[in-house]
Symmetry: D2
């Protein structure tokens, strides 16, 4: 029997199913916002929250939290996930051949993109993960996400939701002040999160409706050393045991600078992304991955301030289970 | 000789080249922000502007200004511009076949998209349009935008720039109070813009660093009547003669609810998007198209307030000459 | 009760379900080539057939039966079917900017394509159509074609099969000698096919293992008049009542110059491609669509010979339910 | 000065430019088939050649020479070359949810593909490679291949051409009878080709209009050991010094089982695909790459016969500089 322990060391490594199921049931938000709900914990963001978040803007400084979208990204083809392919359907070279080919010497360039919605900085939609046949809010997985997309919780439902207070917990600097980077495989615990908040001070208090950004430092490492197995390999990340913390904090969403948000290898002998299974279909938590938190961390450290206005709306791709994004923090 | 008249009726319909060239030269910002500049009039947005914009947030209400990204859009294949194609590479149906196929009953759905960057709600990057062989800031078009993309003014340069005060000028309601919709082919003049500001009141004053949103009402019409020729056909829009107004207002960017921002058919016997040619490569003005301003207009009218915080960052697609976006207005 | 009549006029227009079901059952080949069979009637092509087909080559003249693959095709977005989008990832323009940018002055151009496999000249694979929950050979549809593709009858199974004798029945010229074109909505009957064979002479006898090409002339018409509703609108084509003829003839495959092979509108008050439902999942007949039979018809008419070697292998796209092709007739 | 030596060992390793230029000039076919020619050495295939080729069909056995087109291919993203991405836009799973959702219980599956035209078994078109600013037949590279594709030598020009006699030279078995595989970096010489012909016997004589298939055995090796650097790394292949042999043989086309047809690393200190530069833009030779010659080699060896009818038409993708293909050998 699982004890819902919040200590990573107390997980039963051979009972992934039990540890997941216990937390899935304990932290399930099905029905909390009505049976038709499509956005889960994003409901925690209310108007007052946004007004308060906007009031955090005192410097007028913006920071993009997106990685580049191009072919030099981390993807290696797993699950058909390639890096974005951007191609030109018109160029300045074509125009320069004959600048007056069109009226009054106008010329134009156009372009297109092919990309998995999970290829770079992104939100996972609520239809991205299922738990034993069910999607968020207890809907049968096969009725929610068909070949035509997610008919219940498509990412377009979150189009207006994600403007709120953002909070950075720089776990890399907190736990490894000498390097600023957590080692691959490090499982961030609930206690680690609380300690970091305490250390960073009052501006990093985390509560209802916040969008929590957790920096591990892995992105800094792979930028220095090469992508290697960034997309799916070993990484620091949240322990399954943080599920309780994520639930009681009533955050609206969470994002990290890693491929998969939770620690990898996962904390069981045989397992795959167990924390996803608990938080996405059960809690209804919107999860961000592959965010670039490097400059944000510098800005926060320089200010001694870890809160900011965060605007991170998904593209309203109808029925999508994820969206590429360019999240913007404003100080 | 062109007189730089701001009255649409005074344009010489048979001299598109002359009318364009005169305005291109008169309103050119090349060098204004240095020879390496990559963002043009977005430079008008400074920190103080953003602080002031954030202070406009008093209700905490968000409005998405994006149209849907899906196959039911307006595109018809011109210049290989199709509507977005969103496909699933994993679904709940697959998971439901055998919910325990993966460890502890986790299942997942993934998806991908193929889309022209000009297919729906978008920013035109500064490399999108050329003027007689040259791109923004006087760079030779063929050196700026090659098959590898825009090496000088790629949209990624604007990744952090576009958070500012937004202002809506609801030209549809102002000029056609009975329908709220300008007729196709209506050329909005500088006087129209000034009159609308006067009528809407102080909250719609337009100045340095603002992002100006111009609602024509055409989107409401095509939603009611069908897309027909929305993508490239006749439309209301700005007259070429507004170039001077756009220049002296020192706005950072402009967007409309139409396919092409300027009036169509264009105001000459033979012409193609002459205002684009003046404002993008010459002024360095970032132009938004196909924005959905319907609910925004309702919110503004209900409040009697036409200003708001606007966050509309492009996806940082390296070297792109445009970007799909989900612009968010916050009241 | 359906009578399996071969006279189009005797179909019960209000009982599509009954007329389809009767033929599905009567002409079903499930199990005929073993329970693991993946290619259906393509099994009719044997080695002797191919040797005989090769012996038809006496002139050495080749005819491509493919339409162009480009953005000027007939697709209009139905079911996300756009025309092929071909984009360059390198060009001669880029090379010409600096011919010695690479060693010894080599330069290169690359390209890519995005296309529905049903966009232009194609084979429908056996997994393309289902009959009341079942795919070819009685397999449950949901087990055969998942989001990962067709695991049983993917088009790659036919990679080596489709080299045989081809026969052209030029129904357009036979039935409408003055124009060479059948009118939209004309339902070709079994009697029409037999009459055409008789009229064209011995070289157009149709039998076991042949690939039957039926020219309606519609492609000539839309080339002259514009695509209009070629992709899914009214068209001449085979009547549902030809199912018996197609079955007893033991042809290996059939192709037409129309979007959908069978007559449209379909022959019932409410219906959708009923002949597909009979012949693909039940007979296991491989169906070709949007073939260009214009020059072939000229060559056949000029020779008074309607048979030839036909080589029309699909691209072995793993798990595909169709394939773009360039079929080649050799006289 | 280059001596046009046909001995690989006599190449001047530090003078790639000279060695390439000498051969480019010596073996150039510009103008040979008229100034408008678009297919180069494919002109060597005439009607008599095809009749003779068809006469080689005595067994009726077909062999596909295509690798699979799917995400498990060798590509790793170089030059935006990913493996094919095949996605379903409808599936049997969707149909099985409600088999009677459409009239009379019909259901359907559709699919699409995104792929570089150079991703798997392919023909390089004549516009794929340039020589110091020029394309085949002396056309300026920048006038031939723009962002709109190859306007002079697009692969559609070869749509009807490539049906001829095929000849296999199994260099792997000939030179390495114990393994059947040439080691990476082995440069096949003109003498090697001649020796192989002599050893294999009269059916492998190579002459005008033939399509020459050269098996190195590398594909067998990577299938056994993993793709590793198959796409662009070290490989056996033809030496630059075979250019003379390729020219005087008057073959119509050549193909190998490797990524790049010629030996890699190339035979100079600094170089990139020098034989491509000689044969494609200068000779006008159509080159095939990544063909699967494994079963073909078995069939040839079993028969002691190395000639066959070969049908390998490209898809007529308008303006393409290459095409995916499924070449078929018929014995």
């Amino acid at each position: 029997m699982s004890s819902l322990s919040e200590a990573p060391g107390e997980l039963d490594r051979v009972d992934a199913a039990g540890e997941v199921a216990a937390r899935a049931e304990a932290f399930r938000n099905w029905g909390r916002w009505g049976e038709d709900d499509a956005i889960g914990t994003l409901n925690f963001i209310d108007a007052a929250k946004r007004v308060a978040a906007a009031a955090l803007v005192v410097d007028g400084e913006t920071v993009s939290l997106a990685q580049s979208f191009d072919e030099d990204g981390p993807q290696r083809g797993w699950k058909k996930r390639n890096n974005p392919v951007h191609t030109m359907t018109g160029t300045g070279l074509d125009h320069a051949r004959d600048p007056y080919a069109q009226p009054h010497g106008i010329g134009g360039a156009d372009d297109m993109i092919v990309m998995p919605l999970q290829c770079s900085t992104q939100w996972d939609g609520l239809g991205h993960i299922f738990d034993r046949g069910f999607a968020y809010n207890g809907r049968p997985a096969g009725e929610v996400v068909t070949t035509q997309g997610d008919s219940a919780t498509g990412i377009e439902n979150a189009a207006e939701a994600i403007v709120s207070r953002g909070v950075l917990l720089d776990m890399g600097r907190h736990l490894r002040p000498e390097t600023g980077e957590l080692e691959d495989g490090y499982a961030i615990s609930a206690a680690d999160l609380d300690d970091c908040i305490a250390a960073q001070g009052a501006t990093s208090a985390v509560g209802r409706g916040d969008v929590l950004l957790v920096r591990t430092g892995q992105l800094a490492r792979v930028r220095r050393d090469g992508w290697r197995e960034y997309a799916g390999g070993a990484a620091p990340g949240l322990s399954l045991t943080t599920a309780a913390w994520l639930h009681r904090s009533e955050i609206a969403a969470i994002a990290t600078d890693t491929w998969g948000f939770e620690v990898r290898p996962n904390e069981f002998d045989v397992s795959f992304q167990p924390l996803h299974q608990v938080v996405i279909p059960n809690m209804g938590l919107t999860v961000g991955e592959m965010w670039d938190l490097e400059r944000l961390a510098d800005e926060c450290a320089a200010r001694g301030r870890y809160e900011f206005l965060l605007s991170a709306p998904p593209l309203p791709i109808t029925g999508a289970v994820g969206s590429p994004i360019n999240p913007i923090a404003v100080f």
